[in-house]
Structure formats: structure tokens, C-alpha cells
Amino acid sequence: MPSRSSASRVTPYADALLARDLPALDPQRRGEAVQFVAIRVADLPAPMKLAVGILAVIFDLGLSLGSRRTYISVSSRLPIPFVSEYPRLIRSLAFAYVWEKWPDTRPDGGRAQVEA
């Protein structure tokens, strides 16, 4: 069974990243997507899981410093090799989940307009 501890480490940053990238995604859907990311992280190959676990701790530390919004904006665009893979991994998994599950989601994460 995948370890749950490595999974739970990614959830604060994943939640913050999705809140910024998809601001209109309702909390329930965001929670589902974050949970999906966490489950996939828990199932990563052992060396990747170790690396992601370390990055999660570092990225989480940043969340407690100053403006969360600014931090997410900067940290998700860091051009640093390997480090930049972390937000990319989270975003990829979450976006794939959101648009597979709800294909007509708007670009801001909002639900598709229902025709009257």
C-alpha cells in the first residue's frame, strides 16, 4: 500500500496552487482534485516519492511566510531544475483530473454555464 504520509505532505501546497490557478473551482471539487494528487503522489516510484517528499516540505515552509498568493505565484514559476518539477507535477495531475471528470469546466475552474 502507498504511504499516506508522503501523500498528505503535498496537500497544503496543492490546495493553494489550485486556488490560485483555478479560482472559481468550488472547494468540494478542489478538495477532490487535491485528494487525487495526493493519492498519485503516494503511488510514485520510491526515488521520486522521496524527492517529492523533500520538495513538499520545502514548498510548505514557504506557505507560512508572508503573502500566500505572492508565494504561490513566484514558486510555481521558479526556473530551477528539478525544483520547478514539483508545481508542474501537481498542476498536471490536478488539471488532468479536473478536465477528465468535468470536461466543460471553465478556464478559471468555474462550472460550465447551464443553458436555461
Partner: protein, 487 residues
């Protein structure tokens, strides 16, 4: 129908004549031919059995159930290269696009001469390919291909580039269409054949290591689905776990030599093309490929459900995100290159999975940029309104003049580079400086350990490799049967 069974029962030790580890394009034909020749065969597979058609193709559900690590596996490097491996009965054949391309003669000749592969006769390989094509019902789509596939062909044709439909291992119902095929994967073909001939398939069994006494392997130590350990004694073993896990297992077993040092892949970059009409069809994989630039690169189409399109747009999300609402008018295409680079598979003591690395060369990086530019050009020539390349900071390409900006702005480190074709980690041949196994797959320095999967290919073939893998696998196992006349 699930044909697997628990070979252990209540015990924890089994004795067999031939153990085959892995049930993909390597393991399944190996098992079928050996069982039909009268050998006592056990196939162990780490994943589980899923009937073809029981899982939505290219979905996250499929990723979770039939791919290793949910499809999230990476070769470290600059850039890291995402790759996927099947982990289920039938292996990668259950989940791949099913495109079939015969082994190119030029490649076979190059391998034979460069790696000193004995008795690699082109006529023999062609004859085996004929058999495989019959066994797998290799065929073209009935009627017209899907719009996304036609678009690629149209774009290439308009530019005067060679292109064509690639057949697939699919069977189609009478009066069926391009989307009505059933994949003739291993669970539909060679695995039932093996089991009908007396082989046993046991799923949910992971081999931790082989027990070696000097140069001979005597048993496999395994972990079963419920976490219990087991031991399988054998006379012969075929390791068919794919190009990552075959060398990892050999390394964990203490086997040295050229094992895991020469991973080859087809690095692939992508773009999304938007058309004026609806082009995106669920479960579609375009069957056309552009071969104008073979062997350096080839272009094709990918599955393009909304989730996969979001993935393709995500590298430049802030600029491209508005396009996701038009996903029905969009499709994802790829450019794959024949890389000069190589990677490694390194088994680390105490870690369940190996570390995988890959290094692109400078030429590879240049070729990726050029190939992505050419692909964009083909999509414009096909009538695309706009093209959205998958790399950070990519420009929108709306006219041919924009392609120069794409190529200038491209950097492999900014791109989502991926590959589904992994090979060459135990290359075959007699040259011990280059090869991990002999001309028929026996691992150098061992008496009874054989590899029979994509690991044996001396280099990436530049085409979808499954046909090449299967042809070499059948050749090798026939040689084994000749040499080990069964009492």
C-alpha cells in the same frame, strides 16, 4: 475472462521448468511458444488482469489500474522525461496505441553489424513478422480514419511530405468504423494461447530477486499480492519486465555487466492544434504518421480527451488556458525523435524502484525544436486556426512565419518531454563492451538467465517498437527450444 490463478495456493514454494517474469509483448509470446513446445511454464505478473474493454482507454482510471505508479514515472535529467509503463496482465500491449510497424531492415542490419548479433537474418525476421501480423490481426481501419488523423495526413500531403496510415493490432467488426476496433493485446492473443497449452499465469506476484549460485539462477524470491513472500525454483528463467524493470531485477540479483547502462527512448514533444470544426473524438488515437523525416523524427497524433488537452496546455497555462473551452475542436499531436542520448537504470539498495536517468544531447535538443516547428507547420497546412506548443513561454502559432519564433523560443528544459518507447537496457549481441546479453538474449556471464523484451533492442528503432520486440522475442525463444530439446 480472467485467466490468471494463484499458482501458490496455500503453499509458499513452487517448482517449475521455465519461469517467465512479465506478461507483456515479451513474456506472452515467450510463454505461448514454450508451452506449445511442451515446456512446463509459469508466468508471473506484478499487475492484475483486466479484460480488454473493461476500462476506458487513456483515462485516469486506466492509468491507476494498468500503468505502473499510476502512469507517473520519470527519467531524471535536464529536462526530466516522463515515461509510462504498463503494469497488468498483457503489459504495455493493453494500453498502448496499438500501432504496428515492421522492424526496418536498415535498423536490423545496423544492429547486426554494430553489435555482432549472430544469425540475425532479415528473411527470418520478415517471416516471423508475417506470423505475428496474422496472430494480432494487424489491419488498417475500415473506411475513413477519424478527423484528427485525416488532419495530420492532409497537412503533410499539402506540404509534400511522406505520410501514411499505420496499421494497428485491432480486429474490427463487419461494417465497423475507425472507432469500433478491439485491441488484439496479449490478453486476447498470446496469453490465452499459452494457457491453453498448459502454462499458468499468476498475477499480483512481484519478483524481488533471483537467487544466483555462481553463474546459474536457481530460484526467484517473490512478494505476493497479500504481502507474503514466496519462492519459485526453476531450470530456466526469462526476464521480460520491460526496459526499466528487467535491468533493475538483474541488478538486484547481483548480475553485473552491461545492464541498465544504455537506456534508449524516443523523446517526444507535443502541441495542441485548434480547428474550425469538431475534431476531438473520445478514445481516438490518430492512425496516420508523418515519416518524411525518418529516421530522425516522426509525427503522429495522441489521445486528446479534455483532461489530456488540459495537460498539453498546462505548460503555458496563463496564456493558453482560454482554449480549454474549445477542446472539442482541438487535438494533440506529437513529434518523436530518434535520440543520440542515453540513460541509465540504477537499482538502489533498500529502494523498491530503480532510479532512472536520461541525458539528451545538444543535437537532440536542436532536433526537438526543429521537429516541433515542422509539426506546427503541418498542422497549419492541415487548416488549423492556431497551434499551441507544449512548453513554457511558447508562442501561439497562427501562420508559418510564427514557426521561427516557436523554434527560437523552444528549450527542451521548458518542455514537457515524454516517451512511451523504452528500450536497450540489456542490448543483445556478442560484443561484450556494448551488450548485456548474447545474440539470443542469454545474459552474458549466466547459464540460464535470459532476457526477452524491449531491453534487448540495441538502440531505439525510430518506429513504434512493439513489432520489432515481438519479432526478436519469437526468434530467440525458437532458438531456445531448438537448444533445449524437451524430453
Amino acid at each position: 475472462m480472467n485467466l490468471s490463478k494463484d499458482a501458490f495456493g496455500a503453499g509458499d514454494h513452487i517448482e517449475v521448468e521455465v519461469l517467465i517474469i512479465g506478461s507483456g509483448a515479451g513474456g506472452s509470446p515467450t510463454a505461448a511458444l514454450l508451452a506449445e513446445a511442451g515446456f512446463d511454464v509459469l508466468i508471473v505478473e506484478e499487475g492484475e488482469w483486466y479484460d480488454q474493454g473493461s476500462i476506458k482507454p487513456f483515462s485516469l482510471d486506466q492509468m491507476e489500474k494498468q500503468y505502473r505508479s499510476g502512469g507517473v514515472t520519470v527519467a531524471l535529467g535536464r529536462p526530466s522525461i516522463a515515461y509510462t509503463e504498463g503494469r497488468c496482465a498483457g503489459g504495455g500491449t493493453e494500453v498502448n496505441s496499438g500501432l504496428y510497424k515492421r522492424p526496418p531492415h536498415s535498423m536490423l542490419t545496423k544492429w547486426r553489424d554494430g553489435y555482432q548479433i549472430q544469425n540475425l537474418e532479415l528473411d527470418d525476421i520478415d517471416a516471423i513478422a508475417d506470423e505475428i501480423e496474422t496472430d494480432l490481426s494487424v489491419s488498417y481501419v475500415p473506411g475513413e480514419s477519424t478527423l484528427a488523423s485525416q488532419a495530420l495526413a492532409r497537412g503533410a500531403t499539402n506540404l509534400g511530405w511522406r505520410n501514411g496510415e499505420i496499421p494497428r493490432w485491432m480486429s474490427y467488426p463487419e461494417r465497423g468504423d475507425a472507432l469500433s476496433g478491439k485491441r488484439q493485446s496479449m490478453t486476447e492473443t498470446y496469453l490465452p494461447r499459452a494457457i491453453n497449452a498448459g502454462a499458468i499465469l499468476s498475477t499480483g506476484v512481484r519478483v524481488e530477486r533471483l537467487e544466483m549460485i555462481d553463474a546459474t539462477a536457481g530460484a526467484a524470491i517473490v512478494e505476493r499480492r497479500d504481502g507474503r513472500a514466496g519462492r519459485i525454483s526453476f531450470r530456466h528463467v526469462f526476464v521480460c519486465c520491460g526496459a526499466i524493470h528487467t535491468p533493475a531485477l538483474l541488478q538486484r540479483s547481483g548480475i553485473k555487466g552491461n545492464i541498465g547502462k544504455s537506456l534508449a527512448v524516443h523523446p517526444t514533444v507535443k502541441l495542441s492544434a485548434k480547428f474550425s470544426e469538431v475534431i476531438n473524438v473520445d478514445n481516438d488515437v490518430p492512425v496516420h504518421q508523418v515519416t518524411e523525416f525518418f529516421p530522425h523524427s516522426s509525427f503522429g497524433g495522441s489521445a486528446s480527451q479534455a483532461g489530456l488537452l488540459a495537460l498539453a496546455l498546462n505548460d503555458n497555462w496563463r496564456a493558453f488556458r482560454g482554449q480549454i473551452t474549445d477542446w472539442r475542436r482541438m487535438s494533440v499531436y506529437y513529434a518523436a525523435i530518434t535520440s543520440e542520448g542515453r540513460g541509465r537504470v540504477i537499482s538502489v539498495p533498500g529502494m523498491r524502484d530503480p532510479v532512472v536517468t536520461y541525458r539528451l544531447t545538444k543535437n537532440d535538443r536542436t532536433l526537438l525544436a526543429i521537429s516541433l516547428g515542422r509539426l506546427a507547420l503541418a498542422m497549419l497546412a492541415a487548416g488549423a486556426e492556431a497551434v499551441y506548443p507544449s512548453f513554457r513561454g511558447a508562442p501561439v502559432v497562427r501562420r508559418p512565419a510564427d514557426v521561427a519564433r516557436l523554434e527560437a523560443g523552444f528549450s527542451a528544459t521548458k518542455a514537457s518531454v515524454m516517451s512511451v518507447h523504452l528500450c536497450s537496457t540489456v542490448p543483445m549481441g556478442e560484443d561484450p563492451r556494448l551488450c548485456g546479453a548474447d545474440s539470443f538474449g542469454r545474459v552474458h556471464g549466466t547459464t540460464n538467465v535470459r532476457v526477452n523484451d524491449a531491453s534487448l533492442l540495441p538502440s531505439a528503432p525510430g518506429v513504434n517498437p512493439q513489432a520489432t520486440v515481438m519479432a526478436l522475442v519469437v526468434r530467440n525463444v525458437r532458438r531456445f527450444i531448438e537448444e533445449n530439446v524437451h524430453a
